[in-house]
Amino acid sequence: MAPEKTKPTPLSTFISKIMTVSDRSGFEGDIDIAQKAIWDLKMGFLSAKITDSVSAQFMDLVLEEEKSGALTMENSIQEEFLSTLKKSLRKIPEIKLTLAFEPSRDFVAKLADWVSLNLQKHLLLDIFVKPEIIGGLLVEYNGKYKDYSMLPQVKAVIAKHHLTFK
């Protein structure tokens, strides 16, 4: 008998949708705002306390959690929820990718899908842009670094055809 799959929670769904380190930083900012807001207003749902102050995705997560009953009006519950969320975000491993061009959001999503599908892991993409690598990418993951860019090949070609007076 195959093991039963855990039903995704709004929190796990939210976390699984985070694609980049930059996205995570944005949500961490939302969490900071929410943590402050908890104690500004003594009572009420968290969603009410952070209206117009956080990103739409974060607000959606909060609303989902409130709807499911996991997130109540109690400040301590709200505090615990935010603290758990912050810790969960910190735990997501990262992969550093350096590209030669500025990728679109769609392409970043494609990369995230590729990573998730091929590596069977949820990794946060830490994307850097360096046009001087010409094409391809530089990968840094789990303490390993590898140059898959076109720069070494182009340099080799240039070196082969170096101008000479001899």
Binding site: I95, L97, L99, A100, F101, P103, F107, K110, L111, W114, V115, N118, L119, P131, E132, I133, I134, G135, G136, L137, V139, Y141, K144, K146, Y148, S149, M150, L151, V154, K155, I158, H162, L163, T164, F165
Partner: protein, 171 residues
């Protein structure tokens, strides 16, 4: 010079002999003096004539010898001067040759050295120029290539690189 001294010495001896004769004649007794006055007078005259003749001969002889000696000395000196002048001229010629040859050697060396320096400088400048040119080319290529590659090709390259990383177990 020695001849002159000899002549003078001879003349001195002759004069001394004459003086001795005159003294011996003068020292004879007084009575004879009167008898011999005529004789003395004659003798003195003869002696004087003879002396004049001898002296004249000697002076002539001495003059001739002096002239010959002087001519000989002058000739020697002239020859010596000529020889010295010739030697000096030869020496100057040799020195000139040596100096010219030395100068030619120095100039040739300097030309060779200058050529070598120039060649080294030229080679270094060429190398520097090549390095600079190749750096410019590399920079231009690195700068231009990413722009030449279209977005689709970029995306394709990235996905292929990821696949390669997976195959090589970098991921």
């Amino acid at each position: 010079m020695e001849q002159i001294i000899l002549v003078i010495a001879g003349l001195n001896i002759f004069l001394t002999v004459c003086l001795l004769i005159i003294i011996s004649m003068a020292s004879r007794p007084k009575r004879a003096v009167h008898e011999d006055t005529h004789f003395k007078h004659k003798l003195g005259k003869r002696l004087e004539e003879q002396l004049e003749k001898d002296i004249s001969k000697m002076v002539d002889l001495l003059g001739v010898r002096l002239q010959r000696g002087a001519e000989l000395e002058i000739s020697k000196l002239t020859n010596l001067n000529l020889e010295f002048a010739k030697e000096l001229a030869d020496f100057v010629k040799e020195q000139q040759k040596a100096i010219i040859s030395q100068l030619e050697y120095m100039v040739a060396n300097e030309v060779v050295k200058t050529r070598e320096d120039l060649e080294k400088y030229k080679r270094k400048r060429m190398d520097d120029l090549l390095i600079a040119l190749n750096a410019i080319l590399e920079e231009a290529a690195v700068d231009a290539l990413p722009k030449v590659i279209d977005t689709a090709a970029h995306k394709d390259l990235v996905i292929k690189s990821l696949e390669k990383a997976k195959t090589e177990k970098t991921l």
